[in-house]
Each structure stands twice: as structure tokens, then as C-alpha cells.
Assembly symmetry: D2
Homo-oligomer: 271 residues x 4
């Protein structure tokens, strides 16, 4: 179970989410309270938007709590839009290429969750990618592959719909190949302008997602960053979030049913 935070608003030092709060991301990485696993010591990463279309990124495989570079960068870098992640590996070795956020062109993506039976689904998922996206894959995680699949399905045009199609496709694939389906998916992603998040799980047990104003902006987190319970609004399971200049917009989310529907037809099953 990973932890993450994301922010959109007036430029904010990354440390305001990453290292300063009572339950900052670094603090959470060392001593988790609400989540299932005790330690997020399998690396970390930050992606932030500055003057260029594509984000900057820093990732490493040390535990976040012991990385001096991270502390210095988080204290120095100020950004109007950034993502930060600490990892507890569920699959994919501990190496930089498997650390979130993942970046493709101007897009960034981070994830807390899992795809059951991913080993069975990986090859056909990779086979869906065109060459450009296939060669962009450098790690072995389910998260990176889901992100690239959403890019393939039109993330640049309609990000929420592309994610819905990607998750629906994976659910359908899983039903075909393993006879069962379980995707848990609480993610944040951005094109450098808006900040998006999704909380969804096949079994309605999606990892938590909270929103809160921070300064003049808004942040989204997997776990509250302090004990001020009134400040944190839980985003319900089955939601998509979009944050832009007009505020925080929450709407219902469900996977694109097409793939799943087809999967349930006899023809598809016999295919």
C-alpha cells in the first residue's frame, strides 16, 4: 500500500506536503497509521511542473526518510502543481524505474492499489501499446502499464474517459484469462494544467482518498497529513476528481463497460 499527495494552486514549496506536516508523506513512509502495511520503504518520487511543459522528476530507491536529497529538493522547489509518492512494493522490484510518479511527455501519474493476477495480464496489456508507448515503458509495475494504457486510450483528449477505458479493459482481460477480477485503484495524474484523481475498486474497497484546501490551492492525499479531521474531506469510492482554476470537481466514476460487457458475452469468452 503506497502513500501519495498532490497539489494544485499558487506555487507551494514541496516540503509543505512532503516533510513539514505532522503526518507528512515522509513521516507516513516511516510509520503508517491508517493503512494496511507498516512501512513504505521501497523508494519514493516527486514530479513537479515549472516553466516547461514536461515535469521535473526525482526518484530514488532509498526510504524517503533517509534521503537528504529529497529533503533539500522539497525545501527548495516551489511549484503550482506537483505529485509526490512513497512506495511499498506490491510487485515489481525495488529500483528507480519502478518508482512513481511515472512521466510520459507532459503527463505524470502516481498510484496506490493493485491489479490481481497481474502476471497473467501483463503480456496482453503490453501488446496493446503502440511502439512509442511500448518503448517508453522502462519498469515492470502494473501501475506504469495502466498509465501507458490510458495514454494509448486517449488520455491527452479525455483523461477520465481514458482511465475508465483502461480499467475496463483490464477488468475484461482479467475475467477472460483468470475467471476473476480485482482492480483497486486510487491515483492522481496531471497534464501540467489540471490535477486529476480517481478512487475506484472492483470490490468497492478502494484505498482512501482525501481532499483539503492548502493555502490558496487544493491538495489530494491518500491519507490526511494532520489530525485536523474537519479539514479533510473523504472522496467516496467510485469517484473522479478534477481540480482546475474553478475549484475541485467530483463526479461518479466507473470503468468503461464495453470491454467488461464483451467479456461477459459467450462469444467473447469463447474467443
Amino acid at each position: 500500500m503506497c502513500r501519495w499527495a498532490a497539489y494544485r494552486g499558487d506555487p507551494l514549496y514541496l516540503e509543505e506536503l512532503v516533510s513539514s506536516p505532522a503526518h507528512s508523506l515522509i513521516e507516513q513512509s516511516h510509520c503508517a497509521t491508517r493503512a494496511k502495511t507498516a512501512t513504505n520503504g521501497d523508494g519514493f518520487g516527486i514530479a513537479w511542473y515549472g516553466d516547461r511543459p514536461e515535469p521535473g522528476r526525482y526518484r530514488d530507491i532509498l526510504p524517503a526518510w533517509s534521503d537528504c536529497n529529497l529533503k533539500s529538493l522539497a525545501r527548495q522547489i516551489r511549484s503550482p502543481l506537483f505529485l509526490a509518492h512513497v512506495r511499498a512494493a506490491t510487485g515489481g522490484g525495488t529500483r528507480r524505474d519502478n518508482c512513481h510518479p511515472f512521466v510520459f511527455e507532459n503527463w505524470s501519474f502516481q498510484h496506490n492499489g493493485q491489479i490481481s493476477n497481474f502476471d497473467r495480464l501483463r503480456r496482453p496489456m503490453e501488446a496493446m501499446l503502440d511502439d512509442r508507448l511500448f518503448h517508453a515503458r522502462s519498469g515492470t509495475t502494473d501501475s506504469e502499464l495502466l498509465f501507458l494504457l490510458a495514454m494509448q486510450f486517449g488520455m491527452a483528449v479525455n483523461p477520465i474517459a481514458a482511465m475508465a477505458e483502461a480499467i475496463g479493459f483490464v477488468e475484461g482481460l482479467s475475467l477472460h484469462l483468470t475467471g476473476s477480477v480485482l482492480v483497486r485503484f486510487t491515483s492522481a495524474f496531471s497534464d501540467g494544467r489540471s490535477l486529476y484523481a480517481i478512487r475506484y475498486a472492483t470490490d468497492r474497497k478502494a484505498p482512501t482518498l482525501y481532499a483539503s484546501p492548502v493555502g490558496s490551492g487544493n491538495c489530494l492525499v491518500s491519507e490526511p497529513l494532520n489530525d485536523d479531521v474537519d479539514a479533510w474531506r473523504e472522496i467516496p469510492d467510485g469517484s473522479a476528481v478534477m481540480i482546475d482554476d474553478t475549484g475541485v470537481h467530483v463526479s461518479p466514476f466507473q470503468p468503461e463497460e464495453r470491454a467488461a460487457d464483451e467479456a461477459r458475452t459467450p462469444a467473447a469468452i469463447s474467443a
Copy 2:
């Protein structure tokens, strides 16, 4: 609070302590049960004796649970005498030079515990080392410095007495410079022939130490490696252990009082 294990006997694969048992050292590093801190993710190390007088050593700063090299080495290397350690940093940054075991010539040393107010004691402790030992210091931990101080005080001739003198010296120094004393010290060390351990604390709250037969040999651990409570004999606070061909020998241990005593006399203060 670190964790460690040590073995002496017929050659044993390191994995028998490091990765295979129910509460192997790697398992403990991820999810501690009896100890105070939840995670030992600040590096690890192994030192083993083979055909040469000096031990081989492998240390790294990744969490032990995610290091493929450690798993391969522990599965491949078989040794009649070895030490293994997972670290939860109490002081000294996360870097290889601060990972146990420490090695000097044919000696190896690993430690679980702490010296209170070490920042105040470090300079005069380092000043006690002759040039050869001073230049052997490559890290910044209290543990490495205690080890080198014991080398200075005659470890090669009488290891338990040298440790007693080193701890006594540090206690005296602390009383002098800070008006208070607290050393907690549960350690294992070896010259490649015998295996030694000490459990001691100024305040009688020393970290735990257990002994158990393993195969034809004996192991010493900071925490039992499995739930077979009858197999593990707790070594009482204030003990020194020596394991050689004739078995496991436990004797009372207390720091060499001279330094502390002198510290309390006006003569010593004026010296």
C-alpha cells in the same frame, strides 16, 4: 533499535539465519514484533569468516528486504562463523560506512543500542585513538567508535576486558562532560575464532539477547528467529558470552570501573 544475529559452529549457509526462519533477520527488518521501532530499513550488513584471517563483508543502505544481492549471497555463502545486522538508524546518516558489522583487521563487530549525548562525547572519544585506528574510522556512528576504542584498549589480548574498559571510559566521560550517563549495549564481535557477545546497560534496560543451538553450532540473536519459545535462552542483562569449541560460556559483565571512579575523584578531574 537494530536487530542482529551471529553464528559459530559447523559451516552454515547464512540464509539459515538471514532469510529462511519465520522471524529471519530480513523478516524482522520489515515487521518487528518485540522491539520498539517498527522498521529496520536503514541498511544492513554481513561479515563472515572463510579461508582468510580477515572476514568478508557485504553492506548496503537499501532495506534488507529489497536487496537481491543479499538474498543471493546469503543463499550461497556457507561459513563457520558469521555476523549479520539490520539497521534502524539512531544517529549517523544512512550510508554504507555507517552500516554494521564494522571490521578492523581480523575483528568484526555489530551492535544494538546507543550512547546518550554522543555528540558531546565524540571528539574526546576519537582523540583516544592512535593514528592507525583513527584513520580506520570511516563512518560517524557511536557503534564504530566504541569498537575502535575497544581495539585501542586491547581487544586483541582480552576482548571482554577491552570492551569493559571502553564502556567504562565512555561512562566516565559522559559523567564528566554532561553530568549524566546512559549506555545501552548489546553487541556481538569476533576475531574469527571465538564469538563474543555482551548485554549491558547503565540503567539495566539493555536490549535483549538470546542464545540457541542451531544445527551443530550456536547462534546469538537480538530477537528469537522463530516462535519455539523453549529453544531460545535469554541471556540476562549484565552478561558476557563467549562461544568456542567447548560451548557457550556466560559470565557476569560490568564496565571497568576505573575510568568512572577516577571521573568522580578530584584528581582525575584535574588531570
Copy 3:
């Protein structure tokens, strides 16, 4: 251009090839003389056979010359059969999973060379692997993929023939997809019993390969380990080497022509 060494014979400390000779592998990694690139600072690895069927392995991404663990392991570990490699990346990022030797079950493999246009060939090469070998792939190099392809083509039964088929397949694929072919391939591999090597290049410009007796055994290297020119026998381009208890056996090597032949037929080209 990578460098490597391999040994088979009576147990030898790894340092006899890795760090002790005038032009030891570590020395070569820092300051190359005969090879084209000046520095092999993109990681290193060793694989050695001990008491188990599968080899031990240690790899890291630091330059070999600055890794204290490597020096200690090479000085401590003695083996009758081992491979050692220093890397200068031609493709595939600098990370442990891309460091040689690669290991699958009891097999180990290391390589100096390249496949031109590998980006175009990677997907169809990966598609040839059955699920078990596909999931064993953890890096992104052409070398690891060639090795797994040879495993797919029967390495366990006839290693030289499997390599010939793998290289022939890649050459055919390259002709199909890019209209040109260039494979340069100087490699060593072992099943834990015999030591094999191949020196081959499509354009007859294969990286060098030398053999020499060392102690009671034999070693194979990409570059001589000292200036004793009489001691090192150059293995000609287009050769396969097999070292077992009966000595060093060199035979002509060429890729399995079938794939390449098919590639040259009009039918294949129009396919």
C-alpha cells in the same frame, strides 16, 4: 564496449581475475587500453558456482573501481567456475537489472557486443519467449533478451546450437524489419559444469576474445589481464569455445542459417 573475464578449473579466488592482475577487470574498468570506449563505469557483476546448482550473484550500478563490497567478495570467494563483467552501457539504463551476468536457473551469461536497431527488434524477440522466460526478463538490454532467447531455443540441451539459432533468428528478424543486419557478440556462459564462449560478428568485426591457462585451470577474457603477450591466445572471429575437464576446445561458429536463409527468400521478404 564491456569487458569480462571467466574461469574454470580448481577453485580460485575471484580477485585473481577481478582485482589483482596488472590489467585486472577493475583496472580495465577505469582505464581501458585496447577497447574503443574509455570507461566501463556503468556497473558490474559477478556470478560464481559453489555448492548449489544455481550460481551466486552480486551486481551493482556503481563503477567497479569504487565498490568496497566487490573488493571484499572477490577477495573472499573462491570458486571453480565464475564469470565477471564490467559494463559500458550501449543501451538499457544504468540499473542493477541491466548488469551482467544474467542468470536463469543454473545458467549464467555475460556479453560484450551489440545488436543494431535493437529497438525495432525487441518486441518480436520478446514475443518468442514462453511465459516462464518472459517473466524472467527484468531488464531492458539486448544481452539479457538474447540469453533468454537461447534458453528458449534449447540452451539446456545444446548450448552452442541454441546460441547459433538465437543469433540466426535475430539476424533474420533484422533483415526483415530493417533491411540491414549487424550483430556483434562475444560472450561467455555456463551451466555450472562447462564454460562456453562465442566470438562472432555479422561483419567479422567481433570484439576480441582471449584464452589463457591460470593456475591449474583456464580463463577466457575480453582483454588480456597482463602484458605477458605469449600467455594469451587470441580466439579467432567465428569461434565457439568449450572448456571442461578435458581442456579448451575451439570450433568454428556460425549462426543457424535457417532464419537468415528464410529471410532472404522473396516470400519471406514480402511477408
Copy 4:
């Protein structure tokens, strides 16, 4: 022999010195042309000033050419004043704490050169530091210690004079303890407002130092960043450089003679 670059002027992306030029610092790290050693693969570091008094810093022990984080940071971070360094270790192990730039409060420092017989001088040099500076020392290099010594000698008040005193002190110490003296010292340092550099060697063989306008600002480098020979002005041996809003100021530099002079007098020896 290390390589470095430093800049002061209107905000500039770090990549303009670090990765973009023909002979960028990263390029130099891989394939040196003018310098004595072929490879600077023992780590790297950047320190840059932003909105805070103290600089941000990123250091790592990988070769600069293979670090994706460095490339992303250098492309994203824009600063009016920064230092960048690639390391070829002459002493002090390969670890983050030994990578330049060194930072203390608002000061940053990087160095190319060496102190002969540093092992003999290290203890008395460290003994000169007050507790605050002593505890700030986390590595083992001569460079970091020279920097802290200059802080001790009044860097904050008069940086060039403090460096002159530090170098003079070390030269005197070396004469005392070893009977010979050799300091080579080409360094850059900053308080976040002005950029300073010194080129000096006891034997008049100081590592090179060049200055050049870059955009609206100025940069100082150990080696020119491109082949435009007219653009690069060599700073002569025995010079101090100060760059502020009024331009580049070069003045003669020699170590503070007092320490060295005293060292030659009987009184000083008996002191």
C-alpha cells in the same frame, strides 16, 4: 582531478552548463580531454540558490552521465547562482558525503585539487574546528575540511582572506609534520550573493580555471565548455576571482603567510 562549473547572472537553467554544451560537465565526466585523468565517475553534485538563503543541493555517487535525476533537475531548475561538480576521487571513499559541493549554512564550496600527505594533516586540521563546524563534517575528504577551516577562519566576513589563511595554515602544518608542502587548489564558493573562485598551487601547477560570459551572466569552469577558444579567458595561477553585479574581478592571491612563517620560527614550533 575533478571538473566543475559555476554561474552567476540572470537565472539560467542548470543544463546550460551541466548537460547541453559540447563539452558540458556531464560530457567531460565521461571523456576528459585536457585533464589528467580520463574519468570523473565518482559522483557529482549541484548546489543552487533560489528563494531561500541556503542553497538547494543534489548529490549522488553514480557517474553523472548515467543519472536520470540529474538530467531532469538540470533541465528544470533555473537559478541566478549555482555550482556543479563531477568527481574523480583522489581520497575519501565514493559516497554522497564526499561529493561536492559542500554546504554550510548559506555557503557552498567545490574544489579541484589536493593536499599532499593529507592523512598526516587531517587530525590537527579537524582539531582547529569549533564544535559546531566539527559536527558539520560528515565526510572524509580534504576538500570538505579545507572549506570548514575557512569557515572557522572567518569566511563569512572576508571569504578570500579566510581561504588564504586556511591554505597558509595547511601549508605550515604540512611543513611542520612532513617536511614538505604541496597544496593544489582551484575552487569556487559562494554565500548566495557573490561568486568566488581561487586558483593557486604551492608548486605553481594549479589546475586550470577559465571565465566566460554566458547570456547576461558569467561562468567559471575548470575546463572550457566548448571549442570557441576566444570565449574563454584563462585565469592565471595565483588568482582570486570575485563576481558580483559589477562584473568579474580578478586579483592576485597568495596564502596568508603568517602560519607558514611562524612554522619556520622556533617560537612557533615550541608554541
